[in-house]
Symmetry: C2
Subunit: 518 residues, 2 copies
């Protein structure tokens, strides 16, 4: 195979002039794979080695890339060396470096060597594991690792294959919630009649991830029947079981049908905890499907000291955590366990003739296509298997504990400085804090409460813009009870204690500059 470095002319393709020097006959040539694969491994290894040199949050302007790239795809082949140069020159400035040790925004997108290698193997085999037969190892390994991880989390046996439940790897929690909600919906409608879809009610709190609302929208739940029950500081922004009961009762009295509760352990905003046991008790009285969304925090439950947060899970129907958030698998890898796989299958199965086969007809195998939205599915179990084996339970617990320890350190540093306050209790590795403006207005006179809130919010917004604009760290905001808050989520794989100490130093410096003006 020969390469020719393209000039600008060859980037246009307006007519078919053939040129032998660009002809590629085998796009999966093993030698070419080997040569270019090694190149890209080194490229990425160098990236991780130098990652602290980049500004964490990309500082480009909207539309920056269109100005830099050609208007059309190239007519002739371009060599990988040139493409990698362009990645460096054009793409890199527009990357927000989620793998940077100074990345503290949203939740981590946790990569690892093992996760990366698993992704490589999965991409290398490139099987489409829609049913068992299409690649038995893909399905069977998934069943096995989901039981392994389920046991590590001490999930009730009823959620494991060994207890007639089972786990499945989906892309994201959004898909998992949509699947379970659809299953719950169809179960209910088969009882009450299809025409009752307008009566079904879905419950969450005002802290529940927007994934629930979106899933409800897609599944045809009427927008007026979506309940985001208000939480308060008194319950640390967890959903109060009494509020849930009152809301359901009033819906029942209005002739509506309570359908589905999404309870969250570790909300996106502040890591609030919905009390699983008591909520499941309420749900049980009304025959509601309970889904537990532990997208971020779920991984921590492999550590005995955190497991109590999902005590009572026996009463729930399904449970998710995102292994790509805080379990080192790289995006995407959402782990969903259900007690009753047949509910998913009843709702999501289709029986196309071209997919029929002996193994499926025998009902002795799992066909994951009937557990999810899509037919085609990647071999995601490979990366979860590699993470579990290449690190082992002991290291995985230590990784998570070290993040929690660093978050505790950051929390302590904030707590020691009386210009700041920690807003919500820190349950895992997320610290929510803000800087406090002086209690009086800029003019020295006392100001009303609303004015104070507004000023505090403006100050914190400015502070966040200022630290993120520095490119040295990246944190993200939330708003709770009207207050603008800064979130510092620790969990990027490369983060060490020194990065956390430096992050706090940067926050303090930028705050000092701002406070002098306020």
């Amino acid at each position: 195979m020969e390469f020719h470095i393209s000039n600008m002319d060859s980037l246009k393709f307006d007519h078919d002039h053939e040129n032998n020097s660009h002809i590629i006959t085998n796009p999966l040539d093993p030698q070419e794979f080997r040569r270019n694969g090694h190149l890209v491994i080194d490229f990425i290894a160098d990236y991780y080695q130098n990652i602290e040199k980049y500004q964490v949050l990309s500082q480009v302007e909207p539309g920056y890339l269109r100005k830099l790239l050609p208007e059309s795809a190239p007519y002739h082949a371009e060599p990988i060396e040139i493409i990698l140069q362009d990645v460096q020159k054009y793409i890199m400035p527009g990357i927000t470096h989620w793998q940077s040790p100074n990345y503290f925004a949203y939740f981590p997108s946790s990569g690892s060597v093992a996760g990366f290698l698993g992704e490589m193997l999965s991409t290398g085999f490139n099987v489409v594991g829609f049913n068992w037969m299409s690649s038995p190892a893909a399905t069977e390994l998934e069943c096995i690792v989901m039981d392994w991880l389920g046991e590590m989390l001490k999930l009730p046996k009823s959620f494991l294959f060994s207890g007639n439940g089972g786990g499945v790897l989906q892309g994201t929690t959004c898909e998992a919630i949509l699947c379970t909600l659809t299953a719950a919906r169809d179960q209910m409608l088969s009882q009450f009649g299809r025409d009752k879809i307008g009566n079904l009610v879905v419950y969450g709190s005002d802290q529940t991830h927007s994934a629930l609302q979106k899933a409800a929208q897609i599944a045809g739940i009427y927008p007026k029947n979506f309940r985001a029950i208000k939480t308060t500081k008194s319950t640390l922004y967890g959903l109060c079981p009494n509020s849930l009961r009152a809301t359901i009762q009033s819906d029942v009295q209005a002739g509506l049908v309570p359908l589905f509760l999404c309870a969250t352990v570790g909300t996106t905003s502040t890591n609030a905890i919905d009390p699983i046991g008591p909520l499941c008790e309420v749900a049980k009285d009304f025959g509601i499907w309970v889904h537990i969304d532990a997208a971020y925090a779920g991984s921590a439950f492999i550590c005995p000291e955190f497991r109590h947060f999902i005590d009572g899970i026996e009463g729930a129907n399904s449970f998710t955590l995102n292994a790509h958030k805080w379990f080192f698998t790289t995006l995407d890898c959402c782990c969903l366990w259900v007690k009753d796989p047949s509910a998913l299958i009843k709702s999501l199965s289709t029986n196309a003739e071209f997919l029929r086969n002996k193994a499926s007809d025998s009902k002795q195998v799992v066909d994951y296509k009937d557990w999810q939205i899509t037919l085609s599915r990647r071999f995601r179990a490979m990366k979860l298997w590699l993470v579990l084996r290449n690190y082992g339970v002991a290291n995985l617990r230590n990784f998570l504990r070290s993040h929690v320890k660093m978050a505790k350190l950051f929390e302590e540093l904030v707590g020691l400085d009386n210009r700041f306050e920690v807003i919500a209790p820190r349950n895992f590795a997320l610290v929510c804090f803000r800087v406090l403006p002086s209690p009086k207005g800029m003019d020295g006179y006392e100001e009303g409460e609303a004015k104070q809130v507004e000023r505090a919010n403006e100050l914190n917004k400015k502070l966040l813009e200022s630290i993120n604009g520095s490119g040295k760290v990246y944190m993200s905001p939330t708003v709770v009870d009207g207050a603008y808050i800064i979130r510092c989520a620790i969990g990027a794989t490369l983060t060490e204690e020194r990065h956390v100490i430096m992050a706090w130093k940067i926050v303090k410096e930028h705050a000092a500059t701002l406070l002098s003006k306020y």
Copy 2:
């Protein structure tokens, strides 16, 4: 970092006995990444080099893997070398080798060096590109490559960003259809009232992919309002516009509301073509959303000689092709273009406070989270960009043409043998054929037509089992008009003419053995 080869004891984790030799402090250590990355590149390169030695269709029995793997995740770290040995020993036998040159089943899952490298870069950056700001390059590159590919396909300008439409990369066609159907549904309901959901009707043919039915189920369309309009041999199993019109008219007379048509170009079963122009004319009369599903065949439209199959696309609302099927990107990479992104956005957007940012508020950027089901999204544009650049338009056309040419060869070989017949016309690189039993029954007496059909079906089923059981090739079945048919889909990246000739030889040999018994 030190490794210790685990013995069976260390595979159990019943108590926390720490052992320093297994401690890993940095799971994203660049040197470890480099060393292990090179190992796995060589592992996969060797796999491609030796791929013909493996049986194409895995011959394992259900449950094979549980017997081979430990019951629990290991407590201590295991080195990558041991894991790779286990991949070879335990996983490989359960892999169906979709990348084998002798893989002719379903549709191809087309890998390539460029696609693999793109996946590596995307996994290496591991950004979560939900909105523009979360990693501007991920969004902007996606907009750009979708315009590039749209132009290569000569899509109407109204489907491109440059014409106020736009493209988005989703996982699979199932997701894309669900998104467009939800958008169409909400548009209609906002006009007719939410309570009319039970009146909405979705149209496809009896050849349409089950993705449509599943999407309709999930979106809450009443099962009784799903129309799989019958096709016949007379239209080569394409959906007849008159049949569509008649079906719609009868629904309208019954007080129902026609909503959505999924027209297919290159059906899964036989590559049938729904006539886009005439169907769009019918749809226009009733204000129906038309989605064109060209999951497999779509890639071919970059060749001018195939582009006519979507003539009339101007009248459609959305269009999909799966670049992971026949465009070398590896799974998953579904390209969806829509004329009216705002319809998607109205249905699929959510506005969580924690995601608010200046760029989004300015409405100057694309936030792809509002174009799809999920919030989190991978940087899929990277692999499409690499495929387009590393091969260029000329090579990509040649790759596809070479597959079509090989399919033509296979079709000719079948046609020359009067014991076989080619069933449906070959439009792209799929050949549907079957072996013909002798016209009389085994006892020498004439038999009825039903009996003949049954015998032919049994013979072809046996033939397929026989060739797939040999492990030398893998083809898959379909049933059309009650006839059991064998599908030979050419498009695995490594397939060369010699593999196709050999495949035909194997089919003939196995048929000869069977025919001697029938």
